[in-house]
């Protein structure tokens, strides 16, 4: 297993956001975690990245226990996150935002080739490369955040609510890109989403998170047929 979470717990004061979550992601998989608002999805990814501390349990990446590593060292292990609401650097240009992505590993990624590839994925980024990131639309900022994570050649890509606040056409486009990255480039992705239909559609396996616990897991195709999922998350 590339990534293994065992009994992960997160709490903010007295509020328990995660109450013992265990999940795993194998190399080359696209796994999704679906759940409603406040189910603990973002806490899960943030804890995995090291942004919020784990109160209990462990995170193992490539067989190495990373539970106590700070954020920047996990990033160096090859974990990258596309944060909720993109979190691009507003007063840096699009190009500089991309550069920050390969901080410390610039020689090994082959910057020029990577940029060309990313610009072909998202041509709008090339058009706006010298604009400040704050001038981009929400969708463009998401594309920038994805590219900033991809430029580092991550071993594991974490994607936090990428569909939030995007118009449906863009959601399709972004999910298509993620699916293509997984299929054609073998990129391992862990996707956390409120948009259950789209994420079940592109992932091979999924977990359903409810109030800090995993309540269902299995191949995404089966979950799509599960009556509980259909009723609660697909509105069918």
């Amino acid at each position: 297993m590339l990534l293994e979470l065992r009994d992960l717990q997160v709490s903010y004061g007295d509020i328990h956001a995660l109450e013992g979550v265990s999940l795993s992601v194998a190399e080359g998989e696209l796994v999704s975690v679906i759940g409603a608002n406040g189910a603990g999805k973002s806490s899960l990814l943030n804890c995995l990245m090291g942004i919020v501390p784990a109160r209990g349990g462990s995170v193992t990446f490539q067989g190495k226990d990373v539970t106590s590593l700070p954020v920047h060292e996990r990033a160096r292990c090859g974990i990258r996150i596309v944060p909720e609401r993109a979190r691009v650097f507003p007063r840096l240009s699009v190009y500089e935002n991309l550069l920050t992505g390969c901080y410390g590993i610039r020689n090994s990624v082959g910057l020029a080739g990577k940029l060309e590839w990313l610009y072909s994925l998202f041509p709008v980024l090339e058009e706006r490369k010298s604009q400040l990131a704050s001038t981009l639309s929400g969708g463009e900022q998401q594309m920038l955040a994805i590219s900033r994570a991809l430029i580092a050649d991550p071993k594991l890509l974490l994607v936090d609510e990428v569909s939030m606040g995007l118009m449906p056409m863009l959601v399709d486009k972004v999910f298509e890109v993620l699916s293509m990255l997984n299929r054609d480039h073998g990129l391992t992705i862990l996707l956390v989403e409120q948009n259950a239909l789209a994420s079940l559609g592109i992932s091979s396996r999924s977990y359903v998170l409810e109030t800090g616990r995993i309540v269902l897991e299995g191949p995404s195709g089966e979950l799509l047929e599960n009556p509980r999922v259909r009723e609660a998350y697909l509105g069918l």
């Binding site: 990033a75 160096r76 990258r80 944060p83 650097f89 507003p90 007063r91």
Partner: protein, 295 residues
């Protein structure tokens, strides 16, 4: 130019050097510091002691002074920079008061009498005075601006900007927050040390009260007024705040009031400073097609 204006300009050049250092910390790395005068003082005292008691010349002492001030910046920055925003502001104010008290109460630093008899700077056998001292300060100011500019174009600078904008996102890119905040802090305090050394040899007498909290606030005002995070902002800020009290000489007693009023007006109408992004001056003189993210 008469002696009077040369003296004023020399002060302004020194303050601009120190303000540029503060700008690296506050403007580039986004870490508030309200104790910058402490490092200005450390530079001044270090140079004064090394040249009077240590028997060095200004020139042999200078590299030591810069290294020492940067090293003290590193030591004081390590615990402080783990804090954020308001807590960091309060801690840096504390640093300022502690350093000032050490100068004031430890006999080694001359106590309340201060340190006198600091030698003038000589270059190629001649004593630097008047305009020559000003030229020397301007050369150092140019060097400081050059280093600042190089820093903004470097990977370390980019890492600092990223931290300033979104600390969590930056660390998720592999940027170690404490490492780059410290880098900016050391660079900024070393520049203050350089300014302090020049100040000590200009005045030839220094005392603890020269480096109080009020000066830290003035430094911050210069940076905010000129344009926080811009290259030339601190220089413009130092120039305006240095010249105004001289032009409005009758108002000299109300100097702090004037500074406060300027600061409030700036924050209300031009929060990015005179040279900041989207400011009036910048819009007037914008060169078309040029990216001005952090110039």
């Amino acid at each position: 130019m008469n002696d009077y204006s040369i003296t004023i300009l020399t002060f302004i050049a020194i303050q601009a050097i120190v303000a540029c250092g503060l700008n690296v910390i506050v403007g580039y790395a986004g870490q508030i510091s309200l104790g910058h005068a402490a490092f200005f003082g450390i530079g001044a005292y270090a140079s004064a002691l090394l040249t009077t008691k240590g028997g060095l010349t200004f020139w042999t002492a200078l590299p030591l002074v810069i290294l020492l001030t940067g090293a003290i910046g590193l030591v004081l920055g390590m615990p402080s920079l783990r804090l954020r925003e308001d807590f960091l502001a309060v801690t840096t104010i504390g640093i300022n008061f502690i350093v000032e008290s050490v100068f004031l109460y430890v006999p080694f630093f001359g106590g309340a009498l201060g340190l006198g008899g600091i030698p003038s700077i000589t270059l190629l056998g001649t004593r630097l005075r008047g305009p020559n001292f000003l030229y020397l300060c301007l050369v150092f100011l140019a060097a400081v601006l050059f280093i600042s500019r190089r820093f903004t174009r470097s990977w370390g600078g980019l890492a600092c900007f990223a931290l300033r904008e979104e600390e969590t996102a930056a660390s998720s890119m592999g940027v170690s927050p404490i490492r780059f905040k410290l880098l900016a802090f050391v660079l900024g305090t070393a520049m203050a040390g350089l300014g302090g050394a020049l100040y000590a040899h200009l005045m030839r007498f220094i005392s603890a009260t020269d480096f109080g909290f009020t000066l830290s606030v003035s430094m911050m005002s210069m940076v905010v007024l000129g344009g926080i995070g811009t290259l030339w902002g601190p220089v413009l800020g130092a120039l305006i705040l240095g010249v105004l009290p001289e032009v409005f000489r009758p108002l000299i007693d109300y100097r702090m009031l004037l500074n406060a009023a300027i600061l409030l007006l700036m924050i209300r109408f031009q929060p990015a400073g005179l040279l900041g992004e989207g400011s009036l001056l910048r819009r007037l003189f914008r060169r078309p097609g040029r990216d001005s993210a952090h110039e």
